[in-house]
């Protein structure tokens, strides 16, 4: 059985926990309960007839007072950088985390997730920014943990990249 560790990284309240919950349990809640430390979940996926156990490390949000510990990142095969489309500043946090992760564990596949797509009227990130990022070669997926849109795709995309890496 192949096992792969994936970290959920991003600023606080971007929807890391909600994405994992949606993907693993198929549920969503509007209530915000900020994560402390890290919570680990497991989910089996099948990619091209191959079973993979994903170990999902849902890490607390990065902020000034609570930086993401490098030790959490150890042994990751890939990671998500989650951005709240309605808060532009969370994109900068994502880039900061990307840098720190690469310094710590080297280059492994990652997918940039723009979450809260259901609130797109309030978005502060426009299509052009996202297009530019994918033109720069980043893997970009738009999701809504609330509606479920794009969630499965995001996880499968990253897993596929990991298997090919």
């Amino acid at each position: 059985m192949i096992k792969k560790k994936i970290c959920m990284l991003g600023a606080f309240a971007v929807g890391k926990t909600s994405l994992v919950k949606r993907f693993v349990k198929g549920i969503f809640s509007d209530k915000y309960l900020s994560s402390v430390g890290v919570k680990i979940d497991k989910k089996k996926v099948i990619i091209e007839q191959q079973e993979v156990d994903l170990l999902l490390w849902d890490i607390h949000g990065e902020d000034e007072f609570q930086k993401v510990q490098r030790s959490y990142l150890r042994g990751s095969s890939g990671y998500f950088l989650v951005v709240d489309g309605a808060r532009r500043a969370t994109l900068n946090t994502a880039f900061t985390l990307q840098k720190r992760t690469e310094e710590t564990i080297g280059k492994v596949p990652f997918v940039l997730i723009f979450n809260k797509w259901d609130l797109k009227d309030e978005w502060e990130i426009d299509d052009k920014t996202m297009d530019d990022l994918s033109k720069d070669g980043l893997m970009v997926v738009k999701t809504s943990a609330k509606s479920g849109q794009g969630v499965e795709e995001a996880f499968l995309t990253l897993t596929r990249e990991i298997l090919e890496a």
Partner: protein, 325 residues
């Protein structure tokens, strides 16, 4: 808390990943039925990616796996293999949870308020929401606050010389570098009038001292503008400096205006004084009034005293200024 009370448990794992030995309150962490000689990764979920150690010890705080109990995990190398020590981290988890939940909610709230109140980013929120968010009456509440005025020097002239698109783009660039420090310090952006803005400190609930927050925001604003200028210089674009005035004192807070255009604002001497001080400030300078100076706990050493003549006041006024490099 002593280690004993924290349900200690340990594992010893060979470099090839097989479990050699274990003991302590492993069941407290949902770890049961371990088999010696079997790879640990398949038995304990969270250890899978962490072992074997390179050489340096590893520490992970507040890790929750299957059982849901939060554990501090210490891993360190020994002669026979890697030692893993688990300690109950619930006390720490609760402490962090309380702090973090509050401060994150506050940040989200601040973000929301800035969207509502700031015409620059406003996208049609309702006044009702606004009143739910801020806890004071329409009739007005008197409160001690610090008021900050910031102006982009030379911008009016620039806007007259350049096409509107260019002006707007430049203005947006400066405004967005200026607004963030204000929001970060729990400042409420009251209005943005062209190239000048006003912010109120002491309205949004925070733990900090608001004169300190206003000054910290001001310093950061000027620094951010310096940084932006460096980038613009590289692109051969014109650059601007900002000047800031801060005054503190009681003001009346409330929703003002007529039905068509109602807005939240502050009215009082301090508002007028802050605007006057801003007009006296040189580019890159912060000028504060005596009230703010007396109340600031951490920043007095940054400022030096000066006397100014303000509009409509006969005698010179004591003020304090600071040049931000």
């Amino acid at each position: 808390m002593t280690i004993k009370k924290r349900s200690p448990a340990y594992l010893l794992v060979e470099k090839d990943g097989r479990l050699i030995d274990c003991g302590g309150k492993l069941s407290a962490y949902g770890i049961q039925g371990l088999e010696k000689g079997v790879p640990i990764g398949s038995q304990v979920l969270f250890l899978d990616s962490l072992l074997p150690l390179d050489n340096d010890p590893l520490f992970l705080s507040c890790v929750k796996a299957e059982s849901g109990l939060s554990a501090d995990i210490h891993i360190f190398p020994g002669d026979k293999g890697d030692w893993i020590l688990l300690l109950d981290a619930r006390t720490e988890e609760i402490r962090r949870c309380l702090l973090q939940q509050k401060s994150n909610e506050l940040s989200l709230l601040r973000k929301k308020v800035s969207k509502i109140l700031d015409p620059y980013v406003r996208k049609g929120f309702t006044e009702k929401l606004l009143q739910g968010v801020l806890s004071f009456q329409e009739s007005g509440e008197r409160r001690d606050v610090s008021i900050l005025f910031v102006d982009i020097r030379g911008f009016t002239w620039y806007s007259e010389e350049n096409p509107p698109q260019v002006t707007l783009q430049t203005l947006n660039q400066y405004l967005s570098t200026m607004t963030q420090p204000i929001l970060d310090e729990a400042g409420l952006l009251d209005r943005i009038i062209g190239d000048a803005s006003m912010a109120i400190f002491g309205v949004l609930p925070t733990t900090g001292s608001f004169p300190d927050q206003a000054i910290r925001a001001a310093v950061k604003v000027i620094k951010n503008v310096h940084d932006l200028n460096k980038i613009r210089k590289l692109d051969n674009q014109p650059t601007f400096n900002v000047a800031i005035g801060i005054a503190s004192g009681p003001v009346t807070l409330g929703i003002f205006g007529s039905k068509g255009f109602r807005t939240f604002s502050a009215v009082g001497q301090a508002v007028k004084r802050a605007a006057d001080l801003e007009r006296q400030a040189r580019p890159g300078q912060i000028v504060i009034d005596e009230n703010t100076f007396k109340k600031t706990k951490n920043f007095q050493s940054l400022f030096s005293g000066t006397t100014l003549r303000l509009k409509g006041i006969d005698r010179p006024v004591q003020a304090f200024s600071c040049e931000v490099k």
